[in-house]
Amino acid sequence: MIRKVLVANRGEIAVRVMRSCRELGLMTVGVFSEADRKAMHVRYADEAYCIGPAPSRESYLNIDNIIEVAKKSGTDAIHPGYGFLSENAAFSDRCKQEGIIFIGPTAHSIATMGDKITARQTMTKAGVPVVPGTTEKITDEKMSMKIAGEIGYPLMIKASAGGGGKGMRLVREAHEMLPSFRTAKSEALNAFGDDSVYIEKYIESPHHIEFQILADRQGNVIHLFERECSIQRRHQKVIEETPSPLMTPELRDEMGKFAIAAAKAVNYEGAGTIEFIVSDARDYYFLEMNTRLQVEHPITERVVGVDLVKEQINIANGLPLTLKQDELQQNGHSIQCRIYAEDTDHNFMPQPGTVTHITVPLGLGVRYDGYVYEGYEIPMYYDPLISKLITWAKTRPEAIARMRRALYEYKITGVKTNIKFLEKIMDIPDFINGNYNTHFIEKNNDRLTVSKVCGTECEDMAMVACFIDYLDKIEKIQPQKFTEEFASTWKDFGRKRSVLRL
């Protein structure tokens, strides 16, 4: 049985994983880069070790250093969190070789789902609907034109090894096909060292809806319902909610069954997520599987009433699932907002810096997963995610009202954040009506870039605060008072010296 867990991650997720370990009575080992000595996960862990310089490649992605710490500290198991090494098949394999439990799926599952074309093929074989398109890598230009013709426009060209929007091209008409095919291939080669691409039908007005699954080593697989993740900026999720406003009970049941089939097709074990792309007409297609915990897992935890990290650890311990599909239900509604250190007025440019003041939103129906504290300097090397704010209520309108209230309470000074931007989303009719897809932010851009109104009186108060602050500051260093101050500096020193007997 696992007794000591190394968390190979940083930020909010490292702290979140350690919290569940502590509740289970497990010892925790933290690892940190040279930029992270003061990070919260180092303070939270029972043990903590430095694993290299600030750049991720030399620390959080350095498998050798992490394994060395695991062995030195007598760790039984490694939890990879999300990002970094969480979907690295070689790392999963290496842990196995070293006799350390990897809290996650096998290298085989990771590798199969990691290559998009192999994943598509596997899903097709398992009967899971995929976006109409090629099942083979394409390199030939003539072949690409022929296939494009069969699939029909608009379509997407995607890099097989892809991710992060690189090597991806939207083609609306036939005459754009060849130039786009060439650029996509060249981008893919540059970014991933592999120029193979594939072609998929483009779904207009797509929704991103994903299903959480849990699978044990005994072959039991369950799903914990969906999460709606369509509110995105720069292809990154900003707000997630469950249940999805688009969902019907029949659709949920159908998609849930496919999610389970998808996991079974790769002999999955642990927690995972099947992402679907869903059209406005509720046609749905397998998009990809994330073979790890998701950033947005808390909304599922809240609505289903489980602790997914504890489930992961139980599965890693070889225990069968105690949750049964027909006993699970969604209770109420949950929304998560991701709080980023970024400038929403300037293309969401990240904003590292020092946090001078925080007021955390609290109270009924609010969960806060974060890691920054007052005086903490958010490093420039890692993700700009500061925290996740999760609300719950019996109904969707109340959960939105609660999120609006929580965002109103939430204050961070020192770095720019997207808090006000998120607050505005809570007031946009399309969001309130649950009538949105991945184009939401683009579509509502005008409303989202307008500042809230601070009237004349409010402006006056803003100026008054500066005025009073400045007055009091000057008061302290006024020249006419300086001689007195000067004298008292001497006196102060005298007093301190007598007290301290230097």
């Binding site: 990240p350 590292p352 003041h357 993700d383 809230k452 100026m463 008054v464 500066c466 009073i468």
Partner: protein, 169 residues
């Protein structure tokens, strides 16, 4: 005591008329206010005006005269204007805006690529320097046809917020 304060594009004169503990009587231009002002936490002010409860957070700039001011509704840049600032401002009006000749990073980051060299002629839209922070790369481009006058950083360097990286002619 009175100062002019600039809040984004609006400038007002604030005069302190009376002060006893947290009770403050002052005038913003022609409007008089009787206020209760206290600093509740470092840089966080609670102001009561006629019962209305305002919470204002200040972040002081380097010069001691600039602030970022957060109200519940929005965030402002503010500046205390005194004789010195006025002089500088008047002088500035006559000259071209210097910023256009310099490329600086709005956030701390790492210089990833400098695809130009000193003395090189560049055209509008051409990438001058690429900076990475928090897994995102930002490209800084020339806004007009120019000549690269000086490159003050090199690839791999870490830059601070507002540090000038490149000068143009």
């Amino acid at each position: 005591m009175a100062y002019e304060i600039k809040l984004e594009h609006r400038t007002a004169r604030i005069e302190l008329l009376n002060r006893a503990g947290s009770k403050v009587l002052l005038a913003v231009d022609d409007r008089k206010y009787e206020l209760d002002v206290v600093m509740v936490e470092k840089g966080v002010y609670s102001i009561l005006y006629d019962g209305q409860s305002y919470n204002i957070e200040l972040i002081e700039g380097d010069s001691g005269k600039e602030y970022i001011v957060n109200t519940n509704a929005r965030s402002f840049n503010a500046e205390i204007i005194d004789a010195e600032s006025k002089y500088l401002e008047n002088r500035m009006l006559g000259t071209e805006h210097e910023g256009e000749n310099e490329i600086s990073s709005p956030m701390p980051g790492k210089v990833i690529k400098i695809p130009v060299s000193e003395g090189e002629s560049v055209t509008a839209g051409q990438t001058l320097i690429v900076v990475e922070a928090m897994k995102m790369q930002s490209e800084f481009k020339a806004t007009a046809d120019r000549v690269v006058k000086a490159i003050l950083v090199k690839e791999g360097d870490t830059v601070n917020s507002h540090q000038v990286m490149l000068k143009l002619e």
